[in-house]
């Protein structure tokens, strides 16, 4: 699954630790999602979208599309 997490985070000048704190996860998890080594669960994906005040499809995109 592709995502725009790094661009969105950089746009808000947040560090990975800042985002991790907002999401209630570890920095390693944020890094793994950004580098697309790990696909978050649906609840976490919704939480990410909520933090950025976007729709989930604006943050995540299926590889098949």
């Amino acid at each position: 699954m592709k995502n725009k997490l790094r661009e969105l985070r950089a746009g808000r000048e947040w560090s990975q630790s800042d985002l991790a704190e907002k999401l209630g996860v570890s920095r390693q998890t944020v890094n793994a999602i950004e580098t697309e080594k790990y696909d978050p669960s649906l609840p976490l994906a919704f939480k990410v979208a909520r933090v950025f005040k976007l729709k989930i499809e604006d943050v995540f995109e299926s590889n098949g599309n």
């Binding site: 630790s17 996860v25 570890s26 920095r27 390693q28 998890t29 793994a32 080594k37 790990y38 976490l44």
Partner: protein, 152 residues
């Protein structure tokens, strides 16, 4: 073995909660039942050795007494893992699976050798619980390192 258990916790705390410093007290709280199980295992062995006249049921109860703190330790670990974030849960569960299946293979391999009359010089009486536990701990650390590397 106790040192390894503490190191396991230290590494995980630092990766799960980067801002949080390692706490010996938290470590002791997490691993307290493991320490109790080890202490009870040694104590029960000594007690049984000094009371061969005791009945079968009493000796069985004393011999199995370390199982209770062992079970409570497993419960503590399960709660600890449930408190982690989803990636850490995946890493920990992967490491646990690696450790348990790896240990099954180690025990199986050893028993296959014994069945063929090949005895390892260091373990003439077979694998006892200390060897099995050491295998689980070693393979857990190895599994954690391998799976953690995948997500770095």
């Amino acid at each position: 073995m106790l040192y390894i258990a503490c190191e396991m916790n230290k590494t995980t705390i630092e990766s799960v909660q980067p801002g949080r410093n390692y706490s010996f007290r938290a470590d002791m709280k997490l691993n307290a039942w493991a320490f109790a199980a080890v202490a009870m295992a040694f104590a029960s062995r000594i007690v049984i050795r000094h009371h061969p006249d005791w009945g079968m049921w009493l000796r069985a109860a004393v011999a199995l007494s370390p199982m209770l703190p062992g079970f409570l330790y497993v419960r503590t670990i399960a709660r600890w893992i449930r408190g982690m974030d989803e990636l850490q849960q995946r890493i920990q569960l992967g490491a646990c699976l690696f450790a348990t299946t790896g240990t099954i293979f180690v025990v199986l391999a050893y028993n296959l050798l014994v069945a063929q009359g090949i005895y390892l010089a260091r373990l003439p009486h077979g694998l006892d619980w200390e060897d099995t536990f050491a295998s689980v701990i070693f393979l857990y650390i190895l599994g954690s390192a391998i799976i953690n590397r995948r997500y770095r």
